[in-house]
Structures are given as structure tokens and as C-alpha cells.
């Protein structure tokens, strides 16, 4: 397009104006991304949400208090009593270090923000960064317009909001930014072939490894793309520069993170990257030799190498496969395996399956979390194919894989969200591009076609220049390569058309009609484009409304404070913190508190008490022990807890106010996990005809287990009938006394009940004698029996 010669100065002015405008838009997008996540602070308070964030918060507190070296060496004796946990070596430190650095920076500037405040606002800040990274990535793929659209979409996509509202201080908050930014730098390197960006890419990958276990997605997706490029004959030196340093530097850096360590070279998750690393070198060698040799010589060489190389390759691969296959899990971690085989977890690891966010999503959740993006994605994929470049093929690969993963685990919807935003951004921006151009083209009337055409080409060149201004010459040629092909195709069409025209009109001015003719296929009628623009704007408006609703209503509840709207006004259920505050002030510092693992992180962080199990479910046996205790009768449970030195038992009970996610509803998982390790706990004992019930039809095992008793102790006296509002039924066993436990605290709405283990002296005399005689009698003969009852004997 021969536009620049018409007016160089105005176009550069426009260029500059466009730059400033897009920077301004980006700032606004950042503000939007930050502020849409503040609903939780406005509606509730500035507080850490849910379960895992409390652990991260606690780690950050430790880091800010004790410094980085103590942090690496931190052995936490407050969890997994009596095992403890090496926090420094088992935690992804990215989030903690980020927030810690932020806090340190602010405090060294004498801005006295508390660690909690910094932690609460880390996620919104990083979602602004993530939307900027999306802009950069999409710009590399499809230009600035698509980039801005994608960034705006990402700033408010509900799926991402659900993980990054203020207070949701979790790894994903920074990891999504790191993920997108790593992808951006990969594409940037691929487009420029610059070693500088390749180095940055490795560092970004390192940050991602620090932040989240999801880094394996990167280290598998990028090799897949490289392989795709090689297979489709798109190998270039840029591809080599984009990939080889990433593998070498990235793996070295990843091995520096304690939690990854040698996994970076040993586990199968990383295997693909090394395989592709070998392949790309072979390919590079082949290309090099091809350059040196004449075609005939080359053919001979290929024959030679193929015959020898294949044999070597086969043996190497066979050895590798044998090595991998010899390990029981085939070298894959449980979570990764459950990704590859969606039924794996439910078959073998009930702990992973018991977490609701590890379940496959339902269809409505796609609509809820992605909304219109779910429909725009196919259009985006088509747009990516129109000129298929290295970058757009990467994005296509990204969306395809992430759609699969999100289908396996609802939690990975988060990885899909950026891909969906990028695709929808491309689709929307492409559609707007066509529609507005055809409007611009037709509105001034036919007499001014030429003028408008000139303006149009001018604007086109502005966009092109914008791209070109920052990028090197080589990249330009890369970028335009596919589009050139396209243009040539268009031109062929054009030629045909022109020939036809010439037959009709000999004297027609070919030059002026040329560009006009080129546009013609893309031009839509004015009415159609106006309506289409209107509909698109409407669609996007719906999306915005939905996102704001999702941010305000669906995803901003901190889950430790519950509210309900009653006719008298807002009612607040602050029972969890009531219980944790009670524990922290009115029990001894070294007391051990047992609860189901969901409440472990919160108990250590808010009550500062030692817990037996927590949300880092690394020891199945330990969790099974607690599960067994909860599903055993009172005496056996007392013995288990006593052997663990537990002083208090905490249960969550929603029957009085109708809080559905309480321990009685989670109880079957306790039975399953406990039964998985201690076979005397059998799930059918707790089910009547395969049904889980707590009413008068319930099995005696169920009605006598500790969980039932602790939940419903003296519950019948509240209303005289013992009507459970969650299960919507009257409880089965109404009047009973506790013999081995005593109630020490129950919160205002009975949601948390804390019991203390009675000391042995207070037990009924006869029973003590019995148990004593039992233990004193020959251990060997009774051991099998006692072991059944108490796994810790």
C-alpha cells in the first residue's frame, strides 16, 4: 500500500496520538481490573478469604518478620502434628516473595501498610498486570486493536475474578500474570529472534515456576508448539532462539526453586520439553547441512543419517520409556495424572477427588465463568487461521489444550480464561474492524469514494506503522510473510476481476479503482454493518453487566464471614472468626486442635494453634487417621485423639442456621479417606440402602460416630425436635450424653463447636479399669484387635 507518500507528517502525528490513546486506554483497563475486584472489600471488609490464602498470609507474615533465610529454613511445627512440615521446601514461594517484597518496598518508603493489607490487594494489582500482559501477547499475535480488546475482556472475565478478588491471596493471583507474560515473551522472541527476549522469557518462566504448580502447562505447551512448527515446516532460527535458551536456562532456574528441585529434570511432566529439545537440534543440524550440501549430496546424507539415527533414537526412546514405566506412577504426579486420565483421581486418590474444585465443570459454569467468550472463541480461532502465523498457531494450540484441561478440572477454567479472552479479543476486534471500515467506506457517498479510500489506506498504514515502529526489521518481514501470501491471493483475484473489467471498459482508470476493488469483498452494506455494530456493542454490554454482577454477587464473599438478607436487614454470621478468636485467646499456646483438614490453615493462621492436618494434603495416612477418629465411636475416637496429643476437637455444624458446607455433609469423604487406610471403617456401615442419612433411618454406626455426636450434642434442646435445616429432617438420635468429650465453646449460630477431650481421670471408673486391664493383658494377642480400633497403637 503506497500510502506514506501522501502525507508523512499527519500520519506520524496520528501515530503518536494513537500511542498516547492506547496507553491511556491501557491505564483505564488496569484501573478497571483493579477496581472491579474491590467489591469484596466494599461489601464485606479488607480480609483474607477462604482457606489457602490464610496459609499464604501466614507464610508472608513469617517472611516479613523473620527474613528470607529463615523463611527457606522454616520448619513449621504448628501443622501436621507430630510430623510438622518444612514450609520453605514445600511451598511455591513466588506469591509470598512478591507480597513480601511489595511490603518491604512500601515500608522502606515509610508507607505504613500492614502485611494483611498488602496481601489483600496483591491479587487485584496483579490482575491489572495480567491484563496488560494480555495486551502485549495479543498485540504480538494480531495487532494493537485486538490487544486492547483482549485486555479489556480479561480485566473482567468472571473466571479470573473468582480467583483474584481483593483478599483472595492465592498462587493463581500472580501465576496467571506470570503465565501470560511468559507466553508473551515466547511469542516476542519467536517474532524477533532476539536473544534478549529469550533471556527475559526464561526469567519470566522462572517466576512462573516460583508461583504455581501450573508451570508444567507452559513447559508442555511451548514444546508442543515448537513441535507443531517443525512438523508444519515453519522451522526457523527464531524458533530455535525462542526455544533452546528457554529449556536450558529455564530448567536450571526452575531447579533453584526448592519445591521443584530435581523434579525439573526427573519427572515426566518435563519430559516433553527435553524430547523436543533434542528434536529441534536434529532439525537445526539438518537445515544446516542442507545449506552446505548440494541437493543430491543432501539426499544421500539423509539416507545415511536416517538409517543410523533411527536405530539410535529407537534405543534411546526405549530405554527412557523403560525407565519411566518402571516407576509406579509412570513418573507423573497424582494431580497431573488426573489431568491426563480424568477418572484417575476418583479411582485411586479420594483426597484429590474430594476437593470440589477438582471436579469436572458443568456446562452452566462455562457460561457463568466465560459468558459470551464461550461463543466468541470459535470466531477467534477462525480469525487466527486467516493468516496463520507462528504466533497465531501458538494461540490456537493454547486454547485447544486449555479447553481440554478445563473440561477435566473446574479449577483449570482459570487457564482457559486468558486464552478465551485473547481469542474473543481477536474475533471482536476483527469484526469491528470490518464493520467500521465498511461504514467509513460507504457513508460519505459514492462521489467521495476516492477521498475516503485515501483516508482509509492512510489509517491502515498507521496501524501497520504502529506495529512496525517498535519492532525490528526482521520481525516485520516475518509478520508480513503470511499476510503477503494472502495479499498475493487477493491480487490474483483482483487480476481476474480487472481482466473482466477491461473487457467491459477499455478506458477505465485502473489505478484508482485498484484499491477500491481490493476492498470491495470486505465491504458490507451500511444497514447491515450498523445493525451488526449495534448488536456487537449490545453483546459486549451484556458481558460487562454479567461480569460486574459476578464480581459483586457471586465471587466476592470471603467465606469466613457469611451474610444473609433478612427482612430486618443484613444478618452477619461471623462464627468462624468467633471460634478462632476464642481458641487463640482462651487456650494454651501449645494445645493441639483437631478438625477436618479444611479448617487447618485457618486454625493455624487465625487461632495460632497447632493442628493435626491441614489443607496441604500431603500425608494421606494422617488425614485418614483424623477421618477414622471422626467416624469412630466416642471411645475409640478419644483414644486416637489422645494418642495424637489432641486437646480440642473442632467441628463445623450448619444444622441450626442452614449452612450447607458443614462437616456432616463432608462426612462421607472422611469415611472414605479413613476407610482407604484403616479397613475397619467401611462406607456401607454409614449408609442405609446406599443412602446417606442422619434421621431415624440412619444406621447405628452413623448415629454413634463421633462426628454425629459432636455435631448434634444437645441440639434437640434448641427447638424440642432436633430439626436439621441443612438435611431438612429430624435427627435420628436426639438425647445422648458425651462421655469422653466436653463442650467448651459453641459459637453464636452454632456453626463451630469446640470440644475438649476429658482427661482420663474423669472417665467412669469401671471403664477405665476395663481399658487398663485390656492394655495390661498380653499385648501380642490383643494387638490385632486394638490396632483395628486405634491405628496409633
Amino acid at each position: 500500500m503506497a500510502a506514506p507518500e501522501t502525507s508523512p507528517t499527519p500520519s506520524s502525528l496520528r501515530n503518536a496520538f494513537g500511542h498516547v490513546f492506547s496507553i491511556f486506554i491501557l491505564i483505564l483497563i488496569g484501573v478497571l481490573a483493579f477496581s472491579i475486584r474491590l467489591f469484596s472489600v466494599i461489601k464485606y471488609e479488607s480480609v483474607i478469604h477462604e482457606f489457602d490464602p490464610y496459609f499464604n498470609y501466614r507464610v508472608t507474615q513469617f517472611l516479613t518478620k523473620n527474613g528470607i533465610y529463615d523463611f527457606w529454613n522454616w520448619f513449621d511445627d504448628r501443622t501436621w502434628y507430630p510430623l510438622g512440615r518444612v514450609i520453605g521446601g514445600t511451598v511455591y514461594p513466588g506469591l509470598t516473595l512478591t507480597a513480601g517484597t511489595l511490603w518491604w518496598l512500601l515500608n522502606s518508603l515509610n508507607i505504613p501498610l500492614s502485611v494483611e493489607t498488602v496481601c489483600v490487594f496483591t491479587a487485584p494489582i496483579f490482575s491489572a498486570f495480567a491484563s496488560w500482559a494480555t495486551y502485549l501477547l495479543t498485540k504480538e499475535v494480531k495487532g494493537a486493536g485486538a490487544g486492547l480488546t483482549a485486555a479489556a475482556l480479561l480485566a473482567m472475565v468472571p473466571s479470573y475474578i473468582s480467583r483474584s478478588v481483593a483478599g483472595s491471596y492465592d498462587n493463581e493471583a500472580v501465576a496467571i500474570f506470570a503465565l501470560i507474560f511468559t507466553f508473551y515473551l515466547y511469542i516476542k522472541t519467536l517474532n524477533t529472534g532476539s536473544l534478549f527476549y529469550a533471556t527475559l522469557n526464561s526469567i519470566a518462566y522462572f517466576y512462573m515456576v516460583c508461583s504455581w504448580g501450573g508451570y508444567t502447562f507452559i513447559i508442555n505447551l511451548i514444546p508442543m508448539h515448537v513441535l507443531l512448527c517443525i512438523v508444519t515446516g515453519r522451522y526457523s532460527s527464531r524458533l530455535y532462539i525462542a526455544y533452546a535458551p528457554l529449556v536450558v536456562l529455564g530448567t536450571l532456574l526452575a531447579a533453584l526453586v526448592p519445591v521443584v528441585g530435581f523434579n525439573a529434570v526427573m519427572t515426566s511432566e518435563h519430559f516433553a520439553s527435553f524430547l523436543v529439545f533434542i528434536i529441534i537440534h536434529v532439525v537445526a543440524l539438518v537445515y544446516y547441512i542442507k545449506g552446505i550440501l548440494s541437493p543430491r549430496m543432501f539426499k544421500v546424507a539423509v539416507m545415511l543419517v536416517l538409517s543410523v539415527g533411527l536405530v539410535i533414537c529407537c534405543t534411546v526412546v526405549a530405554v527412557l520409556i523403560a525407565l519411566v514405566a518402571s516407576s509406579p506412577t509412570k513418573g507423573w504426579s497424582g494431580r497431573s495424572l488426573s489431568l491426563l486420565d480424568p477418572t484417575y483421581a476418583s479411582k485411586y486418590i479420594p483426597i484429590i477427588a474430594s476437593v470440589s474444585e477438582h471436579q469436572p465443570p458443568t456446562w452452566p459454569s462455562y457460561f457463568m465463568d466465560l459468558n459470551i467468550l464461550a461463543f466468541l472463541v470459535p470466531a477467534g480461532i477462525v480469525a487466527c487461521f486467516l493468516p496463520l502465523s507462528d504466533a497465531s498457531s501458538f494461540v490456537i494450540l493454547y486454547i485447544v489444550t486449555s479447553v481440554y484441561f478445563s473440561g477435566v478440572m473446574v479449577r483449570l477454567m482459570l487457564v482457559l480464561a486468558p486464552a478465551a479472552c485473547i481469542m474473543s479479543g481477536i474475533a471482536l476486534s476483527g469484526a469491528f474492524d470490518v464493520l467500521t471500515r465498511s461504514l467509513k467506506f460507504q457513508l460519505p457517498g459514492t462521489s467521495e469514494i476516492f477521498a475516503s479510500d485515501a483516508v482509509d489506506t492512510g489509517s491502515e498504514s498507521v496501524i501497520l506503522n504502529k506495529d512496525g515502529a517498535e519492532e525490528d526489521k526482521s520481525e516485520d518481514s516475518v509478520k508480513e510473510r503470511p499476510s503477503k501470501k494472502n495479499k498475493k491471493k487477493e491480487k490474483e483475484k483482483e487480476k481476474e476481476k480487472e481482466k473482466e473489467k477491461e473487457k467491459e471498459k477499455e478506458n477505465a482508470g485502473t489505478s484508482s479503482s485498484r484499491s477500491h476493488a481490493e476492498r470491495r469483498p470486505l465491504v458490507l452494506p451500511v444497514e447491515a454493518s450498523v445493525i451488526a455494530i449495534f448488536l456487537l456493542v449490545l453483546l459486549v454490554a451484556f458481558y460487562v453487566v454479567h461480569c460486574v454482577w459476578a464480581a459483586a454477587e457471586a465471587y466476592s464473599a470471603p467465606s469466613i464471614v457469611l451474610t444473609s438478607q433478612s427482612p430486618d436487614g443484613l444478618h452477619v454470621f461471623d462464627d468462624f472468626r468467633e471460634a478462632y478468636a476464642w481458641l487463640s485467646h482462651n487456650t494454651d499456646v501449645d494445645d493441639k486442635v483437631a478438625s477436618w483438614w479444611d479448617y487447618g490453615y485457618q486454625t493455624t493462621a487465625m487461632a495460632n494453634r497447632t493442628v493435626i492436618v491441614d489443607n496441604n494434603t500431603w500425608n494421606n495416612t494422617h488425614i485418614a487417621t483424623v477421618g477414622t477418629a471422626m467416624s469412630s465411636p466416642e471411645k475409640a475416637a478419644w483414644e486416637i485423639f489422645n494418642s495424637l496429643d489432641v486437646k480440642y476437637v473442632l467441628v463445623v455444624f450448619g444444622g441450626l442456621v442452614g449452612y450447607p458446607s458443614d462437616d456432616i455433609n463432608k462426612f462421607l469423604w472422611m469415611v472414605r479417606i479413613g476407610g482407604g487406610v484403616f479397613p475397619h471403617i467401611k462406607e456401607p456401615d454409614y449408609l442405609r440402602d446406599g443412602q446417606y442419612r442422619i434421621d431415624s433411618q440412619a444406621t447405628p454406626t452413623m448415629l454413634n460416630c463421633l462426628m454425629y455426636k459432636l455435631s448434634y450434642y444437645r441440639f434437640v434442646e434448641t427447638d424440642g425436635k432436633g430439626f436439621d435445616r441443612v438435611r431438612r429432617t429430624e435427627i435420628g438420635k436426639k438425647y445422648f450424653k458425651l462421655t469422653h468429650f466436653e463442650e467448651v465453646f459453641t459459637t453464636h449460630h452454632w456453626m463451630v463447636r469446640i470440644y475438649k477431650l476429658k482427661s482420663p481421670r474423669n472417665r467412669i471408673r469401671g471403664k477405665t479399669k476395663k481399658s487398663k486391664s485390656k492394655s495390661s493383658s498380653t499385648i501380642s494377642s490383643k494387638s490385632s484387635r486394638t490396632r483395628k480400633k486405634n491405628p496409633w497403637n
Partner: protein, 616 residues
């Protein structure tokens, strides 16, 4: 009584020791009448004593001694003495007397002595009325010490039925006021009488000095025994118009310790029977116009509080997260802002802060109170005046972009009761200009940031000007400009071609051959000029190595353009010739058509080449 034999015995011993020692009469003062009233309705024991003092001796007396037994004096939080001079009928100005700790010789050591200095010496036969007000903390001992949820809380109070004094007391009485009529037991002496919730001892007459008859009252008291183990009050002054007060409480229920089960059911169903000893809420009486009130603890906001206010006060009713039973602890923070002009005043170039000392909660006993007054950065000449003795020192605090830090006046006092809630003053000098330091710092910071950005974008930070890459870049820039010029030339050529074509079209329409020829001439001349320009540009491009890759395309373009030009000229002359000769007909048309085809093809090629060059 029999339950509490232990403490009884010690009291008896004490009494014996007094009578044995029987120190010499200090002076000739005689107390003609003592009226003592003790208020036990809250956890603060408030003792009001009215003394009528007479000087029977010859020397004039300037001070009155006030002894307290040790077990009381260690709990003594507050002591004032006022005199009311009786002038005629109307009671006139009461006057606070300075009180100091003294240690007179020859007196029993198990007593703590305070002396009130009289405003003027009491001459012979002079009379004076003294009002003494003493507040004790932790003077009520829970008994039994551990109770269950259902029990009421019982406490024990000990004192003497007679007024302990180094002087002869002629007539005296002692009244004990209890919170409720329920009394477990009390020491029954002569003239002791229980009526309702009051126990009255006396009147007794002519009691010698140092008489001590212990009495014990054991009664039910379910008032809140809220004790703040530590309270840190931070008062931060901002000259932008706000006094921010933050109070960190560390609270314990100091009554009888709760043992056994806590049943929420019982507590909710029968709160005043099962859980009478627990306290649910505290009321903080904040100054009027308090704003931005918050109430939280280390794990977040506490949602159970109420706030209401009028023009004289703001009432904040706070409820701890859970009801506090005996021995239970909690901690929380309240904070509020106050308008600056209510508390900060100016006099003689100095500013002084006038604000109350203690906690806004009236039911509280504070074991250790630390008040920190954080003055704005740049304050100097700081002086503090507090109406009672305290420990005082200064610190520095860094906050909100401080450079040198804010001076902090720290005042520490133990055993604080609501009577200490008096105003104290902090005087300091402060320059108004210091107010603008931080905004200016921010402004200049951003200014320099932007300036640095501007400089960075405009300056060339290339390390070496002679490096190969830099030279290459320069050359490449030159080549680019040359190519741009080249493109300009080419497009002008093409524009001329267009003009020629247009002239042909005009010719077919109007038949003006002359105009067509003129156009041809003009085109010829301008094309010649352009070719000259082209030559110099090509020369440059050929000489520069950077243009090597682009040169073939450029050359090709030039050749193609030349060809196109020739063909066009040919066509033009043919058409014009044909027109002039009026030959028309098939022949020319076919010739023109063939040429036209070539022209179109060439034109396309030229355009393609131009685009290719453009993309480079």
C-alpha cells in the same frame, strides 16, 4: 466467715500488731466525726470519707496524715482530698489538696502513709472538713475462685469497721453499699445492720488511734469485671484537621474463673441465669463529632457493635466476639477520628493539645496504660503536663513518607481507673510550612521521574558511537531515507502516467488533441527531471552496502518503470496519431489493446515491487 478463715487470721494479726505498737500520738489533731461510705456496686471500690478535723493542741498543724494498710494501698489507684470551708450557710469553694507519700518515723511499717497538706495552717481550736475520695482496684476477691456457668459470682470485700487513723476519732460510721441485696455473709459486730443492699457499721464513739477491726463482706456481684491488662492509646495529630485515636485493648474477665462446660444452649436460653457472670458488651463514651469509628481485632472487623451519638457525646457499644466468662481473654482495637479544632489550641506561638487521658470505657480497670501522643513531623520544644504522676519518655515514629520521623510522647501509668480520665496537655511548637513538606516531596518526586523519562527517551545511551552496529544503524537509516525518496519519485512517475492516461481519456471525450499534446510535453519534461533525481538516488544506493539486499528489487523496479513509461508513451503517441489522422478503426484499436495489456501487466508488477520495497 468460716469459709474465709485464712485471710481472717492475717487481719487479726494485723490488728494485734497495731494495738501492740500503739505509736505515740502524732499531734493534737482530733477527728470529731468520720463518715465513711464504700461503694461496691462495680469492680472499682470507691471509698468516700468525710473527716471533721479539730486541732486541740497548741501548735498549728499544716498536714493531715492518711494511713492505709498495705493490702489496700497496693490496690489504691486514686486518692484525692478536698476541703470545704464553711463560710456561713452556703458551702463554698472546695479545694483539692496536694497529697504526697510520707514515711513518718516510729510508725508501724505495714501501713502506707499519705499526707494531705492543708491550704492554710490549722491553728489552735481550728476546724476543718476534709473529703477524701479513694478508689481501689482488684480489692474485690472472687470467692469461690472457680465457678461454673450456672453459678453466680460471689466476691469478698475486706476493710476495717473503724477508721484507721493516727488520731483519736470521736464519732464514726461506715456504710457499705452493695450491688444487690444478696449477701452471703458479713462480719456481725455490734451496731452492724443490713438493710436492703446496704450494710451499716456504727456509729462508734471515742475510738483510740490505730484501731482496726477487720470486717469481711461476702456478696454476689455480677457486674463486668473487665480488666484491661494492657491498653495502648495512640493519639496522632494531623494538622490537616484530624486527631486519630487508636486504642489497643487486651482484656480479661477478672472475676471468678469459669470451669466446666460452656453451653451455648444454656447461655442463649437463660442468659441471666446461666451466664450471669459473663459480660456481653462495653460502652465507650467517645467525644462528640467522633467519626470513622472502627472496631476490629487482628483477624478482621468485629461486626457486633452499635454507634449512636448526639451533640454532647458519641456512644459506641461494642461486643466482644464471644461473651467473656471469668478468666476468658480477648483483645481488640478501636479507632476513631476527632476534629482537630476541638482539641488543639494555640497560645503564644505554641500549640497545645488538650485531651483526656484514660480509656473512654467507664467500667474498665486498666492495669497498664500507655498513652502515645504522636506529634507531626517537625514539632519541637515539647512539654507535657499531666495532673497526676506518670512515667514519661520520648520516641520517634516513622510513618507516611517521613524523613526525620515524628516525635512521640509516651506516658505510662499503672492502675488506671475512670477517675484518671482527666485532661492533660502536650505543648509544642510547629511551623505551618512543614505541612507542605510531604505533598511537595511527592510532587517533586513525580516531577523528577517524568523528567528522567523524558531525558531517557530523548538521549542516546548507546555505549559506543563507533561500534559496528551503531554505524550500521546509521547507514541503514540513510538507506531508508533514500528508499523513501526513491518511492516518492516512483509514485510521482506513476502519477504522471495517470495524468497521461487521463489526458487520453479527455481526448476521446473532447477531441482536444492540442491539450493532449501539451500534457505529453509536460509529462516528458517532468519525467526527465525525475529520471535525473532517480540517477543520483540509485548511485547512492549502489554505493551503500546496506542496500545490497534491496538493490535488485530497486533496479528491477526502475527497469520495469522505464518499460512501462515507454509503452505508455507509445500508446499515447499511437492514440494521438490515430486521432489526428482520424484513421480510427480496428487496426489502431487492436494495437492499442495489445499495448494496453502490456501496460496493465507492467503496472501491476511495478505496484507489486513498490509494495515489496515498502515492506522492507
Amino acid at each position: 466467715m468460716r469459709k474465709i478463715g485464712g485471710c481472717d487470721l492475717s487481719l487479726v494479726l494485723l490488728a494485734i500488731s497495731f494495738s501492740v505498737l500503739f505509736a505515740p500520738v502524732l499531734s493534737d489533731l482530733v477527728i470529731s466525726k468520720v463518715d465513711r461510705r464504700v461503694d461496691l456496686t462495680s469492680q472499682h471500690v470507691r471509698l468516700f470519707t468525710t473527716l471533721k478535723v479539730e486541732n486541740n493542741g497548741t501548735d498549728s498543724v499544716s498536714e493531715v496524715l492518711l494511713p492505709f494498710p498495705d493490702h489496700q494501698s497496693k490496690n489504691l489507684a486514686f486518692l484525692t482530698a478536698t476541703t470545704t470551708e464553711e463560710k456561713g450557710k452556703s458551702k463554698s469553694s472546695s479545694q483539692a489538696l496536694p497529697i504526697k507519700v510520707v514515711n513518718p518515723e516510729g510508725m508501724p511499717i505495714s501501713l502506707a502513709w499519705y499526707s494531705a497538706s492543708l491550704p492554710k495552717e490549722l491553728g489552735k481550736g481550728g476546724q476543718l472538713t476534709l473529703e477524701i475520695r479513694a478508689v481501689f482496684t482488684h480489692a474485690l476477691r472472687p470467692f469461690p475462685e472457680k465457678i461454673t456457668q450456672a453459678d453466680a459470682q460471689l466476691v469478698v470485700f475486706q476493710d476495717s469497721a473503724y477508721y484507721l487513723s493516727p488520731y483519736v476519732v470521736k464519732a464514726q460510721s461506715f456504710t457499705v453499699k452493695l450491688p444487690e441485696p444478696r449477701v452471703e455473709s458479713y462480719t456481725k459486730l455490734e451496731n452492724a445492720k443490713l438493710s436492703g443492699s446496704e450494710i451499716k457499721y456504727g456509729p462508734y464513739e471515742n475510738i483510740p488511734p490505730f484501731s482496726y477491726t477487720p470486717i469481711v463482706v461476702h456478696f454476689a456481684s455480677n457486674g463486668p469485671f473487665a480488666v484491661a491488662k494492657d491498653l495502648v492509646r495512640e493519639i496522632e495529630i494531623s494538622h490537616w484537621g484530624n486527631v486519630q485515636i487508636t486504642e489497643h485493648y487486651n482484656l480479661i474477665h477478672a472475676g471468678a474463673e469459669s470451669i466446666g462446660e460452656f453451653s451455648r444452649l444454656d447461655y442463649q436460653a437463660r442468659p441471666y441465669l446461666r451466664g450471669a457472670s459473663a459480660f456481653r458488651h462495653l460502652i465507650a463514651k467517645l467525644p462528640p463529632r467522633a467519626h470513622s469509628v472502627y472496631y476490629r481485632d487482628e483477624i478482621g472487623n468485629i461486626s457486633t457493635s452499635n454507634l449512636w451519638g448526639d451533640s454532647t457525646k458519641t456512644l459506641l457499644e461494642i461486643e466482644p466476639r464471644y461473651p467473656l466468662f471469668g478468666g476468658w481473654k480477648t483483645s481488640f482495637t478501636i479507632g476513631y477520628g476527632l476534629p482537630l479544632h476541638d482539641f488543639l489550641f494555640q497560645s503564644e506561638g505554641q500549640r497545645f493539645l488538650n485531651i483526656s487521658f484514660g480509656s473512654p470505657m467507664n467500667e474498665l480497670v486498666i492495669d497498664n496504660l500507655i498513652v502515645k501522643v504522636i506529634l507531626p513531623e517537625g514539632s519541637k520544644d515539647i512539654t507535657v503536663s499531666v495532673p497526676f504522676p506518670i512515667k514519661e519518655w520520648q520516641e520517634m515514629k516513622f510513618s507516611h513518607l517521613d524523613m526525620v520521623g515524628r516525635p512521640v510522647v509516651v506516658l505510662e501509668k499503672t492502675n488506671v481507673v475512670p477517675e484518671h480520665n482527666q485532661y492533660f496537655q502536650v505543648k509544642y511548637r510547629f511551623n505551618n510550612l512543614s505541612l507542605f513538606r510531604e505533598p511537595l516531596m511527592l510532587i517533586s518526586g513525580f516531577f523528577f521521574l517524568f523528567v528522567a523519562c523524558i531525558i531517557y527517551t530523548h538521549a542516546d545511551f548507546t555505549i559506543s558511537k563507533s561500534s559496528a552496529s551503531y554505524v550500521a544503524k546509521l547507514q541503514w537509516d540513510e538507506v531508508q531515507t533514500a528508499i523513501q525518496q526513491f518511492q516518492g519519485v516512483m509514485s510521482r512517475c506513476l502519477a504522471i502516467h495517470d495524468k497521461l492516461e487521463a489526458s487520453l481519456r479527455d481526448l476521446s471525450r473532447t477531441g482536444d488533441a492540442q491539450a493532449c499534446k501539451a500534457a505529453r510535453k509536460a509529462a516528458d519534461s517532468s519525467l526527465k527531471e525525475l529520471s535525473k533525481e532517480l540517477k543520483s538516488l540509485l548511485g547512492f544506493l549502489q554505493s551503500s552496502p546496506q542496500a545490497a539486499q534491496i538493490l535488485p528489487k530497486v533496479d528491477e523496479l526502475v527497469v520495469k518503470e522505464k518499460e512501462l513509461q515507454e509503452k505508455l508513451m507509445l500508446k499515447h503517441s499511437i492514440v494521438v496519431d490515430a486521432f489526428e489522422k482520424r484513421s480510427g478503426g480496428r487496426d489502431t484499436e487492436s494495437r492499442v489493446a495489445s499495448i494496453q495489456q502490456k501496460i496493465t501487466a507492467l503496472r501491476l508488477e511495478v505496484d507489486d515491487l513498490l509494495e515489496v520495497i515498502d515492506e522492507i
